[in-house]
């Protein structure tokens, strides 16, 4: 058990904040107290919460060395001292290791200026769920302080590669949103690509070339059981779950040209949605399930289009730049993230559907695979650091950025899970 835990930690994604944010809310997170029959708690809950809040870009926590006191309950807090170090809010708590092997995590959030408690909660939990409880506490704090739902208790799926050009191996993994607890869900000597979360977060659809042909599978994340969904002649690609989880949009070239189809997940029944002699691919659903947004080069170069799910005329959405592809739709349906190519530079851009304005968020030159966090505040994407493939996340306003990299090997195609249900 311990061996397994240490090996997963070694393979974790490490996160480095590469571009800070002005005007973040200053918060002190004090190391949690511990009472139990070991020297320290099995997880450093305060450190997990602090890292979560900093990764949001909207909250900045005080460095441990600047903590002026270490209260673990409300009665010990001297608010005037915390006002002096210029924090708006204070997080304290304690972890108890119970005799039956379970744990209890208590935490409190205080408004330092008013001196009042904003949240106070206690969670009974198990060893395995301690990190999850810490992320849940981060969600509660984030929502209280920013008014926006937190997305810390979520996961990301991604593909890693290792080995030489001639002898690569491909792995599909799922990790917590802070990069910890990576779980391999599939390994192959042939490419794996295009992971897509089901809306309940229980399944992932993906493309596997394990038979040296493209096939689409859907796999239960928890059990690892999977089934083949599409293995037609030609392309079987770009699976995307419908918001109700009953259908998949996908790309097939079985009729001679890449087109978008809608498949009923249970029956396998297919309906063709597009019809052009051009490339049509990379479908994504709008959250209201009324439309599919996709990439097509029917106008001479790759651009994004929108078509009603029931079929009909496709409307072009992007006009700036020679290349716009690989769309993801924000959870509120009002923004589209995409790969925006211009002058040989491929960057992540966001189109605001209300204003029609396109905002370029990243520097390139080879950025791809944007995926919105389920609260719509961040976009995770694939980029390069030197010759290595790494992941980055950027706030939707482009002001805050962080990098997620593996110690060895390349990592690509991140997709952020939906909220836990």
């Amino acid at each position: 058990m311990l061996l397994l835990a240490s090996s997963t930690v070694r393979a974790a994604l490490t996160i480095e904040i590469t571009q800070g944010m002005e005007g973040a809310i200053p918060v002190a997170v004090v190391p949690f107290g511990w009472s139990g029959n070991t020297a320290s708690a099995p997880e450093n809950i305060a450190a997990i919460i602090s890292a979560d809040l900093n990764r949001s870009g909207r909250i900045e926590t005080l460095a441990d060395r600047d903590l002026i006191a270490h209260p673990t309950e409300g009665a010990q807090v001297q608010f005037q001292n915390w006002r002096m170090v210029k924090v708006d809010d204070l997080v304290i708590g304690k972890v108890t290791g119970n005799a039956d092997g379970t744990f209890t995590v208590q935490f409190e959030l205080y408004d330092v200026f008013r001196g009042n408690q904003l949240i106070g909660s206690s969670f009974p939990t198990s060893r395995d769920d301690l990190r999850r409880v810490a992320h849940h506490i981060s969600d509660l704090i984030y929502e209280k302080l920013t008014g926006e739902q937190g997305a810390f208790n979520t996961r990301i799926a991604y593909v890693t590669t290792s080995g030489s050009t001639k002898n690569k191996s491909y792995t599909l993994l799922v990790a917590d949103s802070d990069g910890y607890n990576p779980q391999t869900i599939l390994t192959s000597k042939q490419p794996l690509m295009s992971p897509s979360w089901s809306p309940d977060g229980q399944q992932i659809a993906y493309v596997s070339f394990e038979k040296k042909l493209a096939e689409i599978y859907i796999q239960q994340v928890a059990s690892g059981s999977r089934r083949k969904l599409a293995a037609f002649k030609g392309i079987n690609g770009a699976p995307a779950w419908s918001p109700n989880g009953r259908q998949l949009a996908l790309t097939l070239s079985r009729d001679g040209n890449p087109e978008i189809y809608i498949m009923d997940v249970t029956s396998g029944a297919l309906r063709r949605l597009t019809s052009s002699s051009a490339i049509d691919t990379e479908p994504v659903w709008t959250p209201d399930a009324s439309s599919i947004i996709f990439t097509s080069d029917r106008g001479g170069s790759a651009q994004l289009y929108r078509v009603p799910v029931g079929g009909g005329k496709a409307q072009r959405l992007t006009f700036e730049g020679k290349y716009n592809a690989g769309a993801d739709v924000s959870p509120d349906g009002r923004k589209i993230a995409m790969v925006h190519g211009n002058n040989g530079n491929y960057r992540i851009a966001v189109l605001d559907l209300d204003s029609g304005l396109l905002r370029i968020l990243t520097d390139g030159p080879l950025d791809e695979s944007p995926s919105f966090s389920p609260n719509g505040s961040m976009i995770i994407y694939a980029t390069r650091a030197g010759n290595r493939e790494v992941l980055s996340a950027v706030s939707v306003d482009g002001r805050f950025r962080q990098r997620l990299s593996l110690q060895a090997g390349d990592v690509r195609e991140p997709v952020w899970s939906p909220f836990e249900k």
Binding site: T165, K168, P191, M193, S194, F209, K212, L213, A214, G234, I235, G237, A238, T251, S253, G256, P258, S276, S277, A278, I279, T281, E282, T295, D297, R298, G299, G300, S301, A302, Y323, A325, G326, V339, G341, G344, Y346, P365, L366, E368, S369, R384, N387, E413
Partner: protein, 174 residues
């Protein structure tokens, strides 16, 4: 003479094909021969096949044979086959026609730029354009399998034009 004839036919057919299948910019010159396209198809195929059969004595394991060259390269975001590529495909078509039990897999690939699934579609388009030339030269559709790996299996690592040029390709795998 036969060789030259079949080559000319291939070039002509490629031009017709490009004219028909091109989605964006039309190739110059394609309009003038487009009318002949449909009627020319049948005869062109048979004479192409007959012409190509003179190369059937090439062996797959001979490193000096044109068949030893099994990679066709492409320009950025293009599925258009170059003249060199067309010459090479005449040899491969001749071999496949003379050896109807031999099977070839056409693997389409792209460079790493742009989004991955779009590149799958682009690699597919490249492999299909090779497939059409082979079939127009008499190769039976059952002898050909097409698969696109997009940017997933680069031949060369690195993010330079030198590497990208080697990665925009279709590989003929016997």
């Amino acid at each position: 003479m036969k060789y030259k004839l079949s080559k000319v036919i291939v070039v002509l057919l490629v031009a017709v094909m490009a004219g028909c299948s091109s989605t964006g910019d039309k190739q110059e010159g394609s309009v003038s021969i487009e009318d002949k396209g449909t009627s020319a198809d049948g005869s062109a195929v048979s004479s192409g096949a007959a012409g190509s059969s003179s190369f059937s004595n090439y062996s797959l394991d001979d490193p000096n044979s044109p068949l030893a060259q099994r990679v066709i390269y492409f320009e950025y975001d293009s599925a258009e086959i170059t003249m060199d590529g067309q010459d090479l495909l005449v040899h491969h078509a001749g071999f496949l026609v003379a050896n109807p039990t031999v099977h070839v897999t056409l693997e389409g690939h792209t460079d790493e730029r742009g989004s991955r699934e779009y590149n799958i579609a682009l690699g597919d388009r490249r492999a299909l354009s090779i497939q059409r030339v082979l079939e127009l030269n008499g190769v039976a559709p059952e002898q050909i399998t097409v698969v696109s790996y997009g940017e997933e299996k680069p031949a060369a690592d690195g993010n330079s034009e030198a590497a990208w040029r080697l990665n925009r390709r279709v590989e003929l795998l016997y």
